[in-house]
């Protein structure tokens, strides 16, 4: 079993929205396109996105933490959006677990979007079909690209490498190791959709130094108070020689 997915390191993400724009750029010109906008340069601009950058403030001022939070399709192991589709346009690929929409079969009833707890699907108001993240399926298998570029556009473009791409079913893959060793978690686990995308939490590094470690007798810091004895003081030889 292979399940391709993204792992997003919230500790590293700076919220630059580079993943959002590169996603839109690649997919507008790729197989999944277009991703049309309405009123892009006027008031109330809106449009279709597969990936959105959100920002949260955690805590109360002054003890706040800003969390940048990119959100796209989770490519769930048990995608609730797939069985509800009346036409079979929504499907989950057997070979790599990517959840896709066949735009030629979609009737635009929007029922699948109701059945997604994450709001990952967005209706294309121009093509009148449901659209969603494809995990750049037209890119990751493209043999004409150099191997290092056979990754989703959002992953390649991330300037801080906050996004990782790989097989979360393979226990030795980079993404699985990250999830396991750095506390990776899925979103809204309570609905049992078993989302494949994982998030690595914000982690803060603390140096643990105890008070007694600072004042203990043999602390080399004490040497700062070291004063050179004068020539009149007793030396060790004076004491030992009689």
């Amino acid at each position: 079993m292979t399940q391709l997915a993204l792992v997003i390191d919230l500790n590293v993400c700076v919220g630059c929205s580079g993943c959002v724009t590169s996603c839109k750029e690649w997919n507008s010109s790729g197989e999944a396109g277009p991703m049309p906008d309405q009123n892009p340069y006027r008031a109330e601009p809106t449009g279709t996105f597969f990936n959105r950058m959100q920002t949260y403030e955690i805590g109360t001022f002054p003890n706040t933490d800003t969390l940048h939070f990119p959100k796209s399709c989770m490519h769930c192991a048990e995608p609730p959006c797939v069985p509800v589709c009346p036409t079979g346009a929504s499907y989950k690929r057997e070979e790599d677990g990517i959840v896709l929409v066949d735009y030629d079969k979609c009737i635009g009833c929007k029922y699948c979007s109701w059945a997604c707890p994450y709001g990952a699907r967005e209706f294309d108001e121009q093509s009148k079909v449901m659209k969603k993240c494809t995990l750049c399926v037209d890119r990751i298998y493209d043999l004409s690209l150099p191997e290092a570029e056979r990754q989703p556009a959002c992953v390649i473009s991330c300037p801080t490498s906050a996004r990782l791409f790989g097989d979360v079913e393979d226990p030795d893959s980079e993404v699985s190791v990250k999830i396991r060793e750095e506390g990776g978690y899925p979103l809204m686990a309570e609905w049992g959709a078993q989302p494949s995308n994982h998030y690595l939490p914000r982690r803060k590094t603390h140096i643990r130094v105890r008070e007694e470690e600072l004042v203990r007798a043999d602390n080399p810091l004490k040497r700062e108070n070291f004063t050179k004895p004068s020539k009149d003081d007793q030396s060790l030889d004076d004491i030992m020689s009689w």
Binding site: I58, C109, S113, E190
Partner: protein, 327 residues
Amino acid sequence: MHPAFSVIFLTTLIGLGQGLFLAIYTAQVYSVVELIPMTQGDDRIFYGVGSLIALVLLGMGLIASLFHLGHPERAWRSVTQWRTSWLSREVIALPLFMGSLFLYGLFHFMGWNPVLITVGEGFAIDLTLLMGAITTLLAFTLFLCTAMIYASIRFLQEWASPLTVLNFILLGGASGFTLATLFTYYAAPELVNFIGGWAMVLTVMALLSRGASLIRNRLLRPKSTPQTAIGVRHSTIRQMAQGAMGGSFNTREYFHGKPQLLVKWVKWTFILFVFPLPILFLALGISGPFDTLFMAALAVQYLGLIAERWYFFAEANHPQNIYYQVA
């Protein structure tokens, strides 16, 4: 959720049609077992025209549903996933019910009604009785499929309840019987008390069931919280940006966008219009009988049902809304 008028009209109109058929067939079954006298008027009119009115309502519902689709020309594809999708099942059940109802009405209208089997002492099961039984089964199947479209989405906690199915059956039944009361006034006046009585009983039952779901939804606690949504354990989480300035599909489809006062007003309007007012009009109407009061009962109840369905959508709070609190 954003209430879409296409779906509001679809569900209320087919409910009305299903209820009307069930009322007509109830009258037939009761008269066969001689609990009520046989209709003295023209059976062809009562059953034939009654079925035709129900068919027209179902057809109107079907047309309304097409306005919900982005690509109605591909709607035929939606019969394929009946193994997993309640929507697909509804798309199959609706035309099957309409076809069966058409045959039921046609057999009555043409008088094609041979006795198939005689049970016991002269209790005859004829063709229309059998056809009506099949159509009844399909009517309930359609109610189940329509309601399960909503009740099967576990994230929409307001809908994910057997009460949703019960409400669709009882509200559709009540409105259908109210329409049937008006219809029997013209087609079979001797049945007005019988059908009108059932319309009142069903309306009371619908009130109990819908009231129960209103109370249930009031007591619901959302399973998803901002904490589970972004996976941060802190009691104070405030969204600063949702990734769109002018809104998105996520803000248009899942929010009703109306002031809370209006939602409350719609709720009390439907509670008044669907239940007590029709019962009052029906009771006064039967005492006459007065057809204007039956018309008023039907009009008030149907308007109330539109408000009820609007509220049904507006009340449902999708967990994805947690991600779209601030632009």
